[in-house]
Assembly symmetry: C4
Homo-oligomer: 279 residues x 4
C-alpha cells in the first residue's frame, strides 16, 4: 500500500508523461511559485513596497518555504525508487548530493538558518537574496535550458578559443591605453585594471561613457579596439548560432529522410548503383 | 448590376493581381495616405510646426478619416462575397471581428469618439497618438511583414528559450549588482528593479551611462555580464537568421532534391511509390 | 598612328589585364592619389595643421586636380573606342553622362567653379568637402565594392522588410516613449522626432546617454525596446551574411564538382541509375 | 650521450605527444608562468599593491626571466636537431630569426637592457609594459589561436572588402557630420579627425556619449549612420562565422561525400579513376 503511494508521488514529482493531469498541475504550481518568489524578492527591495507589504511578503515566503520543504522531503523519501539511490540511507545521501537536490536544499535553507544561528543584519540581507537561487529549481522543469547547456558543452572548444582571444585583446588594449592615457587622465586610467573596465565597455560595445580616451593617440587606439570589438561579438555569435541550429535539428528528429524513397538525403547513394554493371 | 459593382469593388479593395490598374492605384493611394498620416502624427508633436499648421493638420486628418471610413464601409459591404462571411448580418459581424477589420476600425474611431463622448484633454492627446495605429493597416498590404511573422512563429520555441535564458541572466546579474553596489551608490542602485535597468542596458550593450558600477567588485561582475551579453545578442540573432534564410529559400522555390531518387524532399510522396514498378 | 596611341591610352586607363605594367602603375598611382586626397581633406580641417601647411595643401590640391583633369580629358578622348560611345560627339556626351564619368567630373569641378563664379565663404567650404567625393573614383578600381553592391542588390527584398520592420518599431516605440516621458522630461522628450533620436540610439544599441527614460513605466518600455533592438540587429546581419557567403562562393567558381567523378555534388544522380534496370 | 640529452630536451620543449609526462608538466608550468606574469604586470600598475609588494614583484620577475632565459638558451642549443636549422651557427641564427624565437627573446630582453644601457624613467616604464608581450609566447602552445589565424587568413579577401567599406562609410559620415555640427558645437566637432571619433563610436555602436549631434539635421544623419552601422557589424560577423564553422568542420574530420560516386569531395582523386574498371 505505502509502496503504491510512494510510486504515485514519485510519478507526480518527476512526471514525464504530459497526460498525467495531477503531475501537470503540480509542475505548473511549482513553476508559478518559483516565478512568484523571484518576483517577490525583486519587489521586496523597492523601499515603498517592502515597508507597506512586509507582512504579506513574510507570509508568502513562509508558505513557499513550506511547499518547497514538503517537496524536498517527499523527493528524499521517494528517491529510493530510482535504482541509483536504492539503499535507504546511503542512497538517500547520494541523492541529496545531486545538483538538483542541492539546489532544492539551497532554496529552503536561507529560511531555516537564522532560526538556529544568530546572524548579523548584513548576512541576513545576503541570505534573503539567496532565495533568488530558487530560480535554479526551474532547471529541473525547463527542457529548453538543458538544450542551451548542450549547445554550450558541444561548442566548448570553439568558445574557449574566443574567450581566450578576447582576453588577450582586452589585456593588450587596456595596457596600451593605460600607458597612453595615464598622463592625461591620471584619475580615470589610474591602473591597468581600471583601463580594463574601459576595455570591456568598448570591446562589448556597451560604452557607458564613464571612461574614454581624450588624447589623439588614445582615440586612434580606441577606435581600432572598438572596430576589433566587432569581431569579438561576431565570432561567439556565429559559434553559438551554429550549435543551436544543429541542436534544434537533432530535436525535431529531422533525420533528413527523403519522403519518397526513405533514404537519408545526407548520405550518398550506394556505389553499387553507380558503377556500370556489365552483366 | 449591383452585384457586379460589389464584385468590382471587392476586387479593387483586395486586388491580388498586379495587372489590375485601378486596384494598384487604390493600393498605392492607401499606403501613401497611411505613411502621410504617420508623418503627420509625428510632426504634430513638434511645437513650432503644430501651432503654425494646425488647420492643415486638422483638414488632412478629416480627409484621411473620410477615406478610411469609406474604405471600411465598402469592405463591410462587400465582405459577403467571401464564403466565410456569407450571411448578411452574422457574416458581417464575424468579418468586423477579424484582426484586419478591427485595425481598420481602430484607425477611424479616435476621430469619432470625441464627437459623442466628453473627454478630458489628456485622454484626447492619447487618442491622437492612437492614430499611429493606422500604420497597422500596412499589414494588409505588406507581404514582407507576413514573412517576418512566419519566421517568428516557426522559431518560437528557440526564441522562447533565449528570452527565458536572458531573463534569468538579467534577474541574477541585477540582483547581485544591487547587493554589491547598493552601499556605494544607494541612489542609483536603490532596488533590484532599478538594477534591472542597468542590467538591460548592459546585456543589450546599449550602455546609456546613467548607471554603472563603481566598486572594483561591481566592475568585475559588470565586465562579466557585459561579456555574457554578447551571447544574449548572438543566440537570437542566429535563430532569427536561420529562420529567415529558410523562409526566403522556400519563397524562391529552391526545392531540395533527394540524391537517391531525385524527388523533392519537401513534397509528400504520392500514394503509389515510384520505385516498385514491376512490369 | 594616332589611333594606336589612343588604343594604348585606353588600355592603360581601363587596363584589365594585370600583366600590363604601365596600366598597373597608372592604377596604383591614381588610387594612391585618391587616398592622399581624402587624407588631405581630413587633415585640412585640423586647425593647427591647416594654418601651418596651407601652401602645401594648395599645391597638392592643384597637382591632384591637374592629374584628374588630364585623366578625365583622356577618358573623354578615348571613349569612342568603346562601341557604345562610338559617335564623336553624341557618344562622348553619352559617355560623360555615365555614373563613373560624372564622378570623375565631380572630382575636379570644385576646383574650377570658384574661378568663374563669385562664391561666398560658406559655399566655398562646402565645395572643399566635395573633394571627398573623389573617394567615389575608387569604385572604378575596387572589385570588392562592386561585390558588396551585388549582395545588397540581391538581398534587396529581405533588407527592405527589415528596414520597414525597424521603422515601424522605431515610430511606435518613440511615440509611446514621448507620451510616457514627456511629462517628466519635457525638454528631452519634447516631441516624437526628439523621441525618435532616443529610439534610434536604443534600437541600434549605440546608447549615447544624452536621452533616456527616467519614469518606471518609461524604463520598462525602454527595456523592452532595447531587447527588441537585438532583433533589429540580428535580422539584417543574417541577411547580409547569407548573401555575402553566396557571392563569395560564386566568385571562387566553386561549382562544387566532385574531383573523383566530375559531377556537381549539389545535383542528385540521374534517376536512370536508381531504378532497377531489369534487362 | 650528449646527443641523447639534447634529443630528450628537444622532445620536452616541443613535446607534441600528450603522453610524454615531463613534456606535459613543462608546458603547463610555462603557460602558468606566462599567465602569472601578465597578471603581475596588470597588478603592478595598481598603486596600493605595487608599493606594498614591490619586493615580491621584483623577485617574481627575476625568477620568470631566469626560467624564460634558460628556456630560450635550451631552444637555441637544441634547435640544430631540426633539419631546417642544422648548421651550428648559421642554422642557430636562422632559428633566432623565426617569429617564435623573436617573441621568446622579446620576453626576456626588457629585463637585461637596463643593465647595460642607462635609460630614463619613462622608457623604463614602457619597457615594463613590454613584459606583457610574454603573452605572445602562448601562441606556441595554443592550437586554438592558430585556428583563429587560419580563419582570418582564409577570409582575408572578404574581410578587406568590409574594412574598406566601413572606412569609406566612416570618412564620408564623419566629414558630413563635421560640416553640419561644426557651427553648433565648434569644440566637439572641431575637425574631421575629431568627427571620426564620433563616427567610430557610432558605427561600432559603442556610443560613449562624449560626442553626439544636437542639430536636427545632424541627428537625422546620425540616425542613418547608426542604422547603417548595424550592417558594419553584420557583415564581418557573418564572414568570420562562416570561416570558423568551415575550419571546425575540417578539424572534426566531417568529410563531405559526393552523392554520385561516394568519394570525399575534399580529397584529390587518385591517379587512376575508379569508374573505368574494365574487367
Amino acid at each position: 500500500m505505502i509502496h503504491k503511494v510512494k510510486n504515485r508521488i514519485d510519478e507526480i514529482l518527476n512526471g514525464v508523461s504530459t497526460e498525467d493531469v495531477p503531475a501537470r498541475i503540480f509542475q505548473v504550481f511549482i513553476i508559478t511559485l518559483i516565478f512568484l518568489n523571484v518576483f517577490a524578492v525583486i519587489l521586496e527591495t523597492v523601499e515603498g513596497i517592502s515597508s507597506r507589504c512586509a507582512v504579506a511578503f513574510k507570509a508568502f515566503d513562509a508558505f513557499s518555504v513550506f511547499v518547497f520543504t514538503v517537496e524536498y522531503l517527499l523527493r528524499l523519501w521517494t528517491c529510493t525508487i530510482d535504482k541509483r539511490f536504492h539503499s535507504p540511507i546511503k542512497g538517500r545521501l547520494r541523492f541529496a548530493a545531486t545538483p538538483f537536490a542541492l539546489v532544492d536544499l539551497m532554496a529552503i535553507l536561507p529560511f531555516y538558518v537564522p532560526m538556529f544561528l544568530p546572524l548579523d543584519l548584513r548576512v541576513m540581507r545576503a541570505l534573503r537574496l539567496f532565495r533568488l537561487l530558487r530560480i535554479l529549481k526551474m532547471g529541473r522543469y525547463s527542457e529548453s535550458l538543458r538544450m542551451l547547456g548542450n549547445v554550450l558543452r558541444e561548442e566548448k572548444e570553439a568558445l574557449l578559443v574566443t574567450v581566450f582571444g578576447v582576453s588577450i585583446l582586452l589585456v593588450v588594449a587596456s595596457s596600451l591605453m593605460y600607458f597612453i592615457e595615464n598622463a592625461a587622465q591620471p584619475k580615470s586610467f589610474s591602473s591597468i585594471p581600471a583601463a580594463l573596465w574601459w576595455g570591456v565597455a568598448t570591446v562589448t560595445t556597451v560604452g557607458y561613457g564613464d571612461m574614454y580616451p581624450i588624447t589623439p593617440l588614445g582615440r586612434f587606439l580606441g577606435a581600432i579596439i572598438a572596430l576589433l570589438g566587432i569581431g569579438a561579438i561576431a565570432i561567439p555569435a556565429g559559434i553559438v548560432t551554429t550549435g543551436f541550429t544543429k541542436e534544434i535539428q537533432k530535436r525535431h528528429g529531422k533525420k533528413s529522410k527523403c519522403p519518397h524513397c526513405g533514404n537519408d538525403i545526407n548520405e550518398p547513394p550506394e556505389t553499387r548503383s553507380m558503377t556500370h554493371k556489365t552483366p
